[in-house]
């Protein structure tokens, strides 16, 4: 699994700045400054003539931004030695984590992405003549625009899509009580004043569909596995908020992965479907007391927390049934934390102010409201919402709360620092990242499912497919890469070994 986060972008003193240009400046600054990430380009089309991959020159990216065409900007797209992808998508800089296998690793490489973005924006500011560019890990400007924080889960192709829709929809309607990032403003353009649980809920308009930028669906049907399509599908989840709080991200991904595993194994026999999912999604988001009653198709009425408790109950039974005492520590930890958080949300949501984004933000806002007597329409509260997600440690309010010990963390700074440069060891991202790190000069291009080498003495580029997400791990190729001094050696061993 993996996540992809689009960051909000502002140029200091220039509210009307071109966001595509600013985003490109950020990505290119990072690409130029980290020499190893510089040469390899993203391999968009594995079918295109490989010769096309040659001759790419990042230097034209530093041309006057006003001279860049859309095509040029499309090149702001680099692969990092940690296996991640940093690029420009829809006028936002975006970071996609490398493929990982555990929720904690999602948190780790997602946090590493925040640091990459921070470094990138600082590097962009060093280019003479550029205004400082600031990045926000949020999902809306509260004026009608929304941008995504997607999750991707590898699933067995044999799982009927209807099962996914049936069971995942009520889960997504209710999971925001755990992983919402909180938002000041109601409605797509924030016309109504108030606070809601989710950044994204108001931007979802249909139940199922292919779109991601308009008529957004609760369940997205994009089918692009980046792996063997006979065996796998990639479930592309677009409904989540960009989280800052590590526990929020951890539970978001950990609980969703558990529900997906149950769907794959046909373990869910209860139908937990809710009436009017789109309207329910918003109603849940708009009620911070968590008392909104969802009507289930079987006629029961449950609060969103009670609906989550139904999923928790199923997940506990599932893990017990499949793994018993052999369940891995992290799965047990996800279940324990999930239960603990839901229990406290039921008693008093404010009890989760140290763990969950929407509660941490609301708690801060309520403290301001009470001290300064502010109405929800006050611009200061809106500012606090934006600034909560500013990724700069000196300005970001989430970061300040962490600094004051007001937020629980799962990670150490030192491991985040390492994850900015090193790939996870148990997926193909290991092969991609190590190749970028060790043979930078010989990697012409790469993508999720390939690494393309440009080897001395060979006419054509050589493509190494990485179609199986779990192959290319340290166990498979670690020793080989350690041993091979050059990419040619590696390639020979791979093809003739």
């Amino acid at each position: 699994m993996g996540t992809e986060v689009e960051y909000g972008v502002t140029v200091q003193g220039q509210p009307m700045a071109n966001h595509m240009v600013a985003s490109s400046q950020v990505v290119n600054a990072y690409a130029s400054a980290t020499a190893k990430a510089r040469r390899a380009r993203w391999d968009f089309e594995e079918e295109s003539p490989l010769r096309d991959a040659r001759g790419f020159d990042m230097s034209r990216q530093v041309a006057d931004p006003s001279q860049l065409t859309d095509e040029d900007m499309g090149l702001a797209n680099v692969i990092l030695t940690n296996g991640a992808r940093l690029y420009v998508d829809h006028a936002h800089p975006e970071y996609s984590t490398p493929e990982v296998t555990t929720p904690r690793d999602i948190v780790l490489w997602d946090k590493a992405g925040e640091q990459v973005m921070l470094d990138a924006s600082r590097m962009a500011a060093l280019v003479p003549g550029t205004q400082p560019i600031h990045l926000y890990k949020n999902n809306t400007d509260n004026k009608g625009a929304s941008y995504g924080a997607h999750e991707n889960y590898l699933m067995r192709r044999s799982t009927p899509f209807g099962d996914i829709v049936r069971h995942l929809t009520p889960f997504f309607v209710s999971r925001q009580v755990v992983c919402g990032a909180g938002r000041v403003g109601i409605g797509q353009d924030g016309r109504e004043h108030g606070y809601q649980i989710s950044q994204r809920a108001d931007y979802f308009e249909v139940e199922v569909g292919l779109e991601t930028t308009l008529k957004r669906p609760i369940i997205n049907t994009r089918d692009e596995p980046h792996a063997d399509p006979e065996k796998y599908r990639r479930l592309h989840v677009i409904i989540g908020d960009a989280n800052l709080a590590e526990v929020s991200t951890y539970l978001k991904v950990g609980t969703t992965a558990l529900v997906l595993a149950m769907i794959e194994d046909k373990f869910i026999t209860r139908d937990l479907g809710v009436d009017s999912p789109v309207a329910s999604l918003r109603a849940v988001s708009h009620d911070t007391s968590l008392k909104h009653l969802l009507t289930l198709e079987d006629g029961r009425k449950l609060t969103p927390v009670e609906l989550q408790l139904e999923f928790l109950d199923l997940a506990r039974k599932y893990v017990e049934d499949r793994y018993g005492d052999d369940a891995d520590a992290q799965t047990k930890d996800v279940l324990t934390r999930w239960e603990s958080v839901l229990g406290r949300l039921e008693r008093d949501p404010m009890l989760c102010a140290k763990e969950l984004d929407w509660v941490a933000k609301l708690s801060l806002l309520e403290q301001y409201r009470s001290r300064d007597g502010l109405e929800w329409s006050n611009a200061k509260l809106q500012l606090i919402d934006y600034q909560y997600s500013d990724i700069r440690p000196e300005k970001g309010l989430y970061q300040r709360l962490v600094g004051m010990g007001r937020i629980e963390r799962l990670l150490e700074d030192s491991e985040v620092e390492r994850a900015m440069h090193e790939p996870p060891e148990d997926t193909r991202a290991y092969f991609r990242g190590r190749c970028l790190e060790k043979y930078a000069d010989s990697v012409a291009a790469a993508s999720w499912d390939s690494v393309i080498f440009d080897l001395p003495g060979r006419e054509s580029l050589q493509r190494v497919p990485t179609i199986d997400p779990l192959r290319g791990s340290k166990a498979h190729v670690g020793e080989l890469i350690d041993r091979c001094e050059t990419a040619s050696q590696l390639f020979n061993e791979l093809t003739h070994g």
Partner: protein
């Protein structure tokens, strides 16, 4: 009143490490809590962008995925 003492409210749980808040003394606890909140808001005040109205007006994004 006695009941309230037995059920510490949400945010007082967060200051359990506070050395000056004995279990029994609600007033002192409350004071410590208020000091704590004040300290937080003071620190946040220092980093908040100075002109909220202008900042909010100028925070304009393009749509994305």
């Amino acid at each position: 009143m006695a009941q309230e003492q037995k059920q510490p409210k949400k945010s007082s749980e967060e200051v359990t490490q506070d050395e000056v808040a004995p279990e029994s003394d609600v007033a002192e606890r409350k004071e410590a809590l208020d000091d704590d909140v004040d300290a937080i808001l003071d620190e946040i005040d220092e980093v908040l962008e100075s002109n909220a109205e202008d900042f909010v007006k100028s925070f304009i994004q393009k749509g994305g995925q």
